[in-house]
């Protein structure tokens, strides 16, 4: 059996014991699994930090009137909730999954640039700490929204340079992480594993990494111009000095729209791994799936101004951005249809990862529908900056990105730990999450359509009922997530041993590796036969 050879080599390797132990194992980590673990743990902590901020928001919005926080602190909470969830939770979670999975899935011993990998992780805790500390400086945290629109953002007090420095650091981390992903995928695939035989998760990450490298510098440029406007007398975005506040929005959303696909494309990859595994059937239309991800990535560069339909664009601009945005529905539709076709004439079982993937399928599609509605520019004049938008992007990001991250962890955890978690508890976690996420976000569609603006700490009394429902959903969703670390902790401590191929229908090179995993993942590349077995899509 070909897959036993690397394991034997490992036992020998471990004997020499040159790998660092104790705190050095983590601080000086160069092993993709250790770094992946750190990314995921960090993302989990940030998920709860950002979640706590969301709880403050929903607590204040439980009923009209100001009960708990000053409006400025409320604005800080919405701003930082977004920054922590995007840059602290979802993006690092994807990088963590990339670190764990890419070497395993392409038959590589590790990531191509292990020290760079260590550096790109260790930037993050410092960046997040700086961002969190802004809450303690005079004037409070950033409160102008995560988009940092000038001139409002320029009114931020001492938190301003700290926020921008934190964003720069997170951007550097993302760019370095992406370089590593691209170099690894391009250079370290096992011989015979051509690009179009790669698992879809690897494909989705390859494309995501290019998006990141393309747009993170744009964000860095935009926030640097904000910084010089604030401290060095430039007037890039200040009308009084001949600058243009709308230009910032164009630059920001040129980053911002690809950014939202950076958050969701790896989710497409994960779902394309999980559904075939539990449907016991190869993914339908593998190549179409690859091309769909690539088209979505391309389109993401030419739709940015749909975030700005109300700034007063020329008619031609509005029509262009409306049409280009509507086009996104086509590759996205292809993906949803292909996932559905994968389930057709399959043989499904419903373990926790599959439940999360199925919830993704339904709820992400609902988020897609509201996205299509938002694309219609005249209707967007009514939807824009209301809770309808909040409902839309939370549907694509929570039951979309977050559910697929949870599903991915439940899918691969038995491989990482070689132990199985408590399925019953994980299903409780799933059902509570799936129910409360809808209680939380569905009523926000109603609130937005009824005319409630977003980013307000207090509202007219007719919005009370649905806000209460939404808040109850938020508290329920937040509390249910506490189950997740408990389930993982229990699995690591006392989970039953899991076989090397933890799921009956799971394909892919990661399941060809022995459990527990060898220290250097694929010390010798998998043989052609193993690749052929693993690369059945």
């Amino acid at each position: 059996m070909a897959q036993h050879a690397p394991a034997a080599a490992h036992a020998h390797d471990d004997h020499h014991d040159h790998k660092p132990h104790g705190w050095r194992r983590w601080v000086f980590a160069t092993n993709h699994k250790d770094i992946g673990t750190m990314y995921l743990v960090f993302a989990g902590i940030m998920f709860f930090v950002g979640g706590l901020m969301a709880m403050v928001i929903r607590l204040e919005l439980f009923k009209p009137g100001m009960q708990f926080v000053d409006p400025l602190l409320f604005n800080s909470m919405t701003t930082m909730h977004a920054l922590f969830m995007i840059f602290g939770a979802v993006m690092p979670a994807w990088t963590g999954l990339a670190n764990w999975q890419i070497p395993m899935q392409i038959g590589a011993p590790d990531m191509a640039l292990p020290r760079l990998n260590n550096f790109s992780f260790w930037i993050l805790p410092f960046a997040s700490a700086i961002l969190l500390l802004t809450l303690l400086v005079p004037g409070g945290g950033p409160a102008g929204g995560w988009t940092l629109y000038p001139p409002l953002a320029l009114q931020t007090a001492d938190a301003f340079p700290m926020t921008i420095f934190a964003i720069h650091l997170m951007g550097v981390s993302s760019i370095l992480g992406s370089i590593n992903v691209i170099v690894t995928i391009m250079n370290m695939r096992a011989p015979g594993l051509s690009l179009l035989r790669m698992p879809l998760f690897v494909w989705s990450w390859l494309i995501t990494a290019y998006l990141l490298i393309a747009v993170m510098p744009v964000l860095a440029g935009a926030v640097t111009m904000l910084l010089t406007d604030h401290y060095f007398g430039t007037t890039f975005f200040t009308a009084a000095g001949g600058g243009d506040p709308v230009m910032y929005q164009h630059i920001f959303w040129f980053f911002g729209h690809p950014e939202v696909y950076i958050l969701i494309l790896p989710a497409f990859g994960v779902v394309s791994e999980i559904i075939p595994a539990f449907a016991r059937k190869p993914i339908f239309g593998y190549e179409a799936m690859v091309y769909a991800i690539a088209s979505i990535a391309f389109l993401s560069f030419i739709v940015w101004a749909h975030h700005m339909f109300t700034v007063g664009m020329p008619l031609a601009g509005q029509i262009f951005f409306m049409l280009s945005t509507m086009l996104i529905a086509i590759p996205t539709g292809v993906k949803v249809f292909n996932w559905s076709a994968t389930m057709w004439k399959s043989s499904m079982t419903f373990e926790p990862p599959m439940l999360f993937a199925l919830a993704f399928l339904f709820l992400f599609t609902i988020g897609g529908f509201s996205g299509l509605m938002l694309a219609i520019a005249p209707a967007d004049f009514q939807y824009h900056d209301t809770y309808f938008v909040v409902a839309h992007f939370h549907y694509v990001l929570v039951p979309g990105a977050v559910f697929s991250i949870l599903g991915a962890v439940y899918y691969w955890l038995p491989k990482w730990t070689s132990k199985m978690y408590d399925h019953k508890l994980a299903k409780v976690h799933f059902w509570l999450s799936a129910i409360f996420v809808n209680v939380l976000f569905f009523p926000q569609h109603f609130l937005g359509l009824a005319g409630m603006p977003r980013r307000i700490p207090d509202y007219a009394t007719q919005f009370t009922d649905w806000n209460m429902v939404s808040s109850i959903g938020a508290f329920g969703f937040g509390l249910s997530q506490l189950l997740f670390p408990y389930i993982i902790w229990k699995c690591v401590r006392s989970g039953a041993p899991a076989p090397a191929r933890a799921w009956e229908g799971a394909h892919g090179l990661e399941w060809e590796l022995p459990s527990p995993l060898p220290y250097h993942t694929w010390e010798t590349p998998p043989s052609a036969a193993v690749i052929a077995r693993g690369a059945e899509h």
Binding site: P64, G65, M66, D70, P71, N75, A143, G145, Y149, P151, A239, P245, V246, A279, F284, G285, Y286, E287, A288, V311, G312, L315, I319, M322, M326, I330, G333, V334, F337, S340, A341, W344, S346, L358, F362, S370, L372, M373, I376, P378, F381, Q382, D385, D422, V428, L432, F446, L449, G451, P453, R454, D458, Y459, T461, Q462, F463, D465, M468, I472, G476
Partner: protein
Amino acid sequence: MIRKALAPIAALAAVTSLFFSQGAHAESGWHLLNMRQGVTAISREIYSLHMLIFWVCVVIGIVVFSVMIWSIVTFRKSKGAVPDTTMVHNTKVEIIWTAIPVAILVAMAVPAAKTLVQIEDTRNTELTIKVTGFQWGWQYDYLENGVRFFSRLERKADAARQLGSGVDPNTIPNYLLDVDNPLVVPAGTKVRLLITAADVIHAWWVPDFGMKKDAIPGFVNEMWFNVDEDKTGIYRGQCTELCGRDHAFMPIVVDVRSKEDFQTWLKATAEAQKQAAAPQPAATAHAG
């Protein structure tokens, strides 16, 4: 184990029941589910576009979700389903499910673009008002008539909305949606707004008029509305671009009157403002 997991939910229910007990509010909001049709031709057109795309989504949703649910119910291993592992690709089907969305999108894009053209047609306006957003209120300036005034959150609501004021917002009529001086406009008239801002970006939105537009310092944005002749009354909206601490507290109220009533109001207001602006000593001398 399930009971243990549900314990926090029970605690949550207890806490929320405490919240609920603190006074029921006057008017139920459960029926507020959809966009309003509004009182202008454009707002109704936007509403019908919204309903059209909504029903398109509902129909697609029914088809797609039915296939998914059918698969989930039918193709179960526990029911002895055997996977058809040869089913990996079908060019004909893939072309069909790419072409159908294209057709739907084209069908949607045409009416949407037509409405956009109408919205952007700012010719033949009959009254121009300059709207300036500031932190945190609005200034209205009737350019042709010399009438100008500020419009801010009504005082009682402003007191009630302070942190820990102890005032129940439900006791205040139109809480956060009322101002001291509403914008007054005539019905049946194409009113043009020139929108700008004094400090940061704001956005002017009255849902019943169907349009919102950003108020940006250094820019003058244009927007128009024409309220139906028979739809006089009070219409309310809010600032819809985050503009700092009191973003939630800068409502917009528009008092739509008949053309005659509007003219009367305009004359009276212009007169009153002229007198108020007149130099004080002269007035005293005249009286003396």
